[in-house]
């Protein structure tokens, strides 16, 4: 089956007065229909940018400088704004981090949902309204019929994010890009929202690109995970593989730094140094200055994704295995 989303060597640049910054450098991965793929990495690794590039909402002066974005086999990176508009909402939905600022405070929740429905589906306003109420109900908001006329500030944080999810799913898209959907919420609510997202997407067969820095959320929710570092993909694989058998030294460090209640630990693992800034990315492998197992080739040649155990990793340590396609 054709993957619902495929990124092939996507590159994004930011021209600044200090020179051009490469914010995304040959990013490649794919998402199958109905699959939940987590995109994980530190702040600044490029996860949100990838999401923004996919829905065509890169903030200028950022722009796609190379590669392809394919939606169900169709190229969408070259489309103009009008054409992208037809895709946004209808084929790709989005959920952003802060539910309070994602909703227009001057319009009721109902007005915003029906507006979205009417923009994409051939329904009458009455039909749109009843569908909006259904959507609210399905996201677990009680007394949906009354609350449809409430304003965003009249909902609590968790409820608001449910409204946002309802809005994202309103036009029945095939893919949702969720950028840190639970980061702004109380920890006690996070699990509920994640559960909701999972359930709804499973019911409708919607794929999810779940962008987060929280490995715990990924472990709960995703089928596969993509690890990003300094604008590059450095590991891709099934969730249980990447978590239990990480292949890239960075991922190893990442997993080792998560405290666990079961394992006996004397110290949390720590990776020395920090992720390089975009204008100071080292030659070769971007992680080489911090890597414990660095080799001479790491400093000069940039590794592509290669087969590494059950996953793929961009690391010369796995050079011995046959170089497979990402």
């Amino acid at each position: 089956m054709v993957p619902i989303l495929e990124l092939k060597n996507l590159s994004v640049e930011f021209p600044t007065r200090h020179g051009t910054l490469k914010a995304l450098d040959h990013v490649s991965f794919s998402i199958a229909q109905g699959e939940v793929v987590g995109v994980v990495g530190e702040s600044g690794a490029g996860k949100s940018l990838t999401g923004a590039a996919i829905i065509g909402l890169l903030e200028p002066p950022g722009r796609v400088s190379g590669g392809q974005i394919l939606l169900a086999g169709r190229r969408i990176d070259q489309l103009n704004d009008d054409q992208m508009r037809l895709i946004r909402g209808r084929e790709i939905g989005a959920v952003f981090q802060d539910p309070l600022t994602s909703l227009n405070p001057l319009y009721t929740v109902g007005q915003q949902i029906t507006e979205t429905i009417l923009a994409h589906l051939p329904l009458t306003p009455k039909q749109a309204l009843s569908r909006a109420i259904e959507l609210l109900e399905s996201t677990g908001i009680p007394a949906a019929r009354e609350r449809i006329d409430h304003y965003p500030h009249q909902f609590s944080g968790g409820m608001r994010q449910r409204v946002v999810i309802a809005l994202a799913l309103a036009a029945e898209p095939k893919l949702i890009v969720a950028d840190e959907p639970t980061t702004a919420l109380d920890v006690s609510i996070q699990a509920q929202i994640i559960e909701l997202l999972k359930r709804l997407c499973r019911e409708q067969g919607t794929a999810v690109m779940l962008i987060t820095h929280d490995m715990g959320v990924i472990a709960e929710t995703a089928d596969r995970v993509v690890v990003m570092y300094a604008g590059r993909v450095i590991e891709v694989g099934a969730v249980k593989d990447v978590i239990h058998k990480p292949q890239h030294p960075y991922t190893i460090g990442l997993m080792g730094s998560i405290p666990s209640m079961s394992a006996h630990q004397t110290r949390l693992m720590q990776i020395d140094g920090s992720m390089p800034r975009l204008n100071a990315i080292p030659d070769g492998c971007a992680f080489n200055p911090r890597c414990e197992r660095v080799m001479p080739i790491c400093r000069t040649d940039r590794p592509e994704l290669m087969v590494a155990g059950a996953s793929q990793a961009a690391c010369w340590l796995h050079r011995e295995s046959k170089e497979g396609q990402p």
Partner: protein
Amino acid sequence: MFAFIVRRLIQAVVVMLVVAMIAFYLFQFVGDPVSIMLGQDATDADRIRLTAELGLDKPVVLQFYQFILNAVQGDFGISLRQGQNVSTLLLERMPATFELSIAAAVIALVVGLPLGVYTALRRNGSMANAILAFSLLGVSLPTFLIGILLILVFSVQLGWLPSYGRGDVIKIGWWSTGLLTVDGWKHLILPAITLSLFQLTLVLRLVRSEMLEVLRADYIKFARARGLTNRAIHFGHALKNTLVPVITITGLQLGGIIAFAIVTETVFQWPGMGLLFIQAVQFVDIPVMAAYLCFIALIFVVINLIVDLLYFAVDPRLRSSVGRGGH
């Protein structure tokens, strides 16, 4: 909400009292009214009698109270310059200032608002930049200079429009209007444009900056991500959110118009309250100054109250007393 209104009303009353105190204080410097009224040759007995009659021997607080009573009834005494009743003078000139201010306000809003929206939406267009450059010029030109330039071009050089006075006015009851005669309109054009220009550029720049700010907001980004049309986003969402702060500030601008009317009336010799006030300041005609101050303060306080109420009507966040839902 009720509490809010009460609080604002109390604040309004306090402001009026402070203004009244300043006005009352001014009257202390008019000089000795007894001597003025009786002349040099009055006997002591006459002085004492008149002083008692005028209530000038009572404590200051009581005098202030009397002053307020008079003021509320519109009695501010006699103009030192013109010898007429001050409130009569003011009421005579009010229609002129009123018509001029409303005309200027309408021009400022009708032209400024759309231009502000346009320059925000077409951010880097050459037309938008030209308008912006023009608006910068507008902010740098003092109102009186605009008036003089307009007079120079349209009155002196071209002779198309008159440069002073109101022209033919028609009295309807106590109100005199220049809006019912062609001559009246001709006289209104240049002063109205002059008065409106400064406010127009302010409105334009304000709307533009507010709209640009709103267009950067998350909910606009989310609206885009939902595939809404540009029209829906710009005019449905962004515009409404822009107008909320703009309404309040524009309401306050109306105050600016009334203030700058003083300048415009001076340049065009427009027989309004502003011209009266300036002449009073030059002449140190205190009763007129005091009356104008109180009157203007009243207008401002009322405008501010109305604007506050408008804010309530437009922004649902301020209205809500409905409880919040659960998780």
